[in-house]
Symmetry: C2
Subunit: 206 residues, 2 copies
DNA sequence: GTCTATACAAAGATAGAC
DNA sequence: GTCTATCTTTGTATAGAC
């Protein structure tokens, strides 16, 4: 036994190369979108030749699909953590903070999704209509419960979730614009966090 | 005088054809992004052949550039209307309403910009660093003035503007996602307006 | 596993007939 | 002004040597 392949038939080397390619592909796809990106660009970014890259992935589409499906899960984690038994205001504020951290720490992932959704979500509509939709229904119910018992001020729960997404993702998706307007401001995120904390505190107070 | 060309050397027919092409191009570019769109697609959408379209515009790039520059101006109108002498809370709420109307009435334009900015604003960075930046500086100063005189609750004015943009544009840019989550809800915009009105009223109250 | 060479298709743009 | 035909470039993907 010289190759010690795992159950998927992949050697360690193969798994590492694939990871390295996905990392480069994330760089490229998140900036130029699917159609705007070329295999050559990705290969160059990964330090490989084009045919060599295609030895590890069957096609450009396969790379993109794997990126998207791999991300969908972790992308929803901050929302999954919203806990019905916690303190309502603190739960929502924590969610906002986690989501803002995602924008700060994973801006490329955010832009990959944004590109996909703006262009009509051709590749992830099923996941949106499934997983995401169910999760939103579940968490909306929790929020509505908090409103009904008077623990937070009344608000449309679904639109509240949209507000959280848009306010936080904006800093990743429109980063170029934010930076163009605040070029001297290196502390964008600490300021943003403060701002959103103020905003949601006022929004939720009965 | 048979052709009655205007000062730009364009006949009426030419202006109308160009308009018709731009309309089709907006459809296509806003959905697929610059690279994802083809001249063929645009030509077909405009009811023309590819070479015929290229009789009216020198290149794909020229069409895209004209769309963007033509839109930049009207896109900033809602912000320009923010009036230092009006009632602060009403001024900001009106701005939010105007911006939400833009998302409702011109979602393609919103997505055209979003595509451009997410991808690093390769073609409109100068306008963002110029016009937009200046306008933000001017309006931030007005908002700061309102805060200083205690007419609205304290907030970071620049981040407040970002919040207004993100909350309103979300309904156009992520329309597919919104619709996937609220498929039965045909009254998205009236609800959104109510929600944002509530949100900003609480946010600005001293 | 990695490379060079190449097949093949799509897309931007032009030539020239009508 | 509009069309058919064509040129050229770019980009996806494969063949086959090493």
């Amino acid at each position: 036994m010289t190759k010690s392949a795992d159950k998927n038939g992949k050697t360690r080397i193969q798994r590492e190369k694939r990871k390295q390619i996905l990392e480069a592909a994330l760089d490229v796809f998140s900036q130029f979108g699917y159609r705007g990106s070329t295999i050559d660009q990705i290969a160059k970014a990964a330090g490989l030749s084009k045919p060599n890259l295609l030895y590890y992935f069957p096609s450009k589409d396969a790379i993109h699909a794997e990126l998207l499906s791999g991300l969908m899960d972790s992308w929803l984690d901050p929302m999954r953590a919203l806990n019905a038994d916690g303190d309502p205001k603190e739960e929502i504020l924590s969610y906002v903070r986690r989501k803002l951290q995602m924008s700060r720490d994973f801006p490329r992932e955010s832009r990959l999704f944004a590109n996909e959704i703006i262009q009509g979500a051709p590749r992830i509509l099923p996941a949106i209509e499934g997983e995401l939709r169910d999760l939103v229904a579940e968490k909306s119910a929790i929020i509505q419960g908090w409103i009904n018992t008077g623990r937070i001020a009344p608000l449309d729960p679904q639109h509240l979730l949209f507000s959280i997404w848009s306010l936080t993702q904006h800093y990743a998706d429109f980063e170029v614009q934010v930076r163009a307007i605040m070029p001297s401001e290196e502390r964008v995120y600490p300021r943003a966090e403060e701002h959103l904390e103020t905003l949601f505190t006022r929004m939720l107070s009965v």
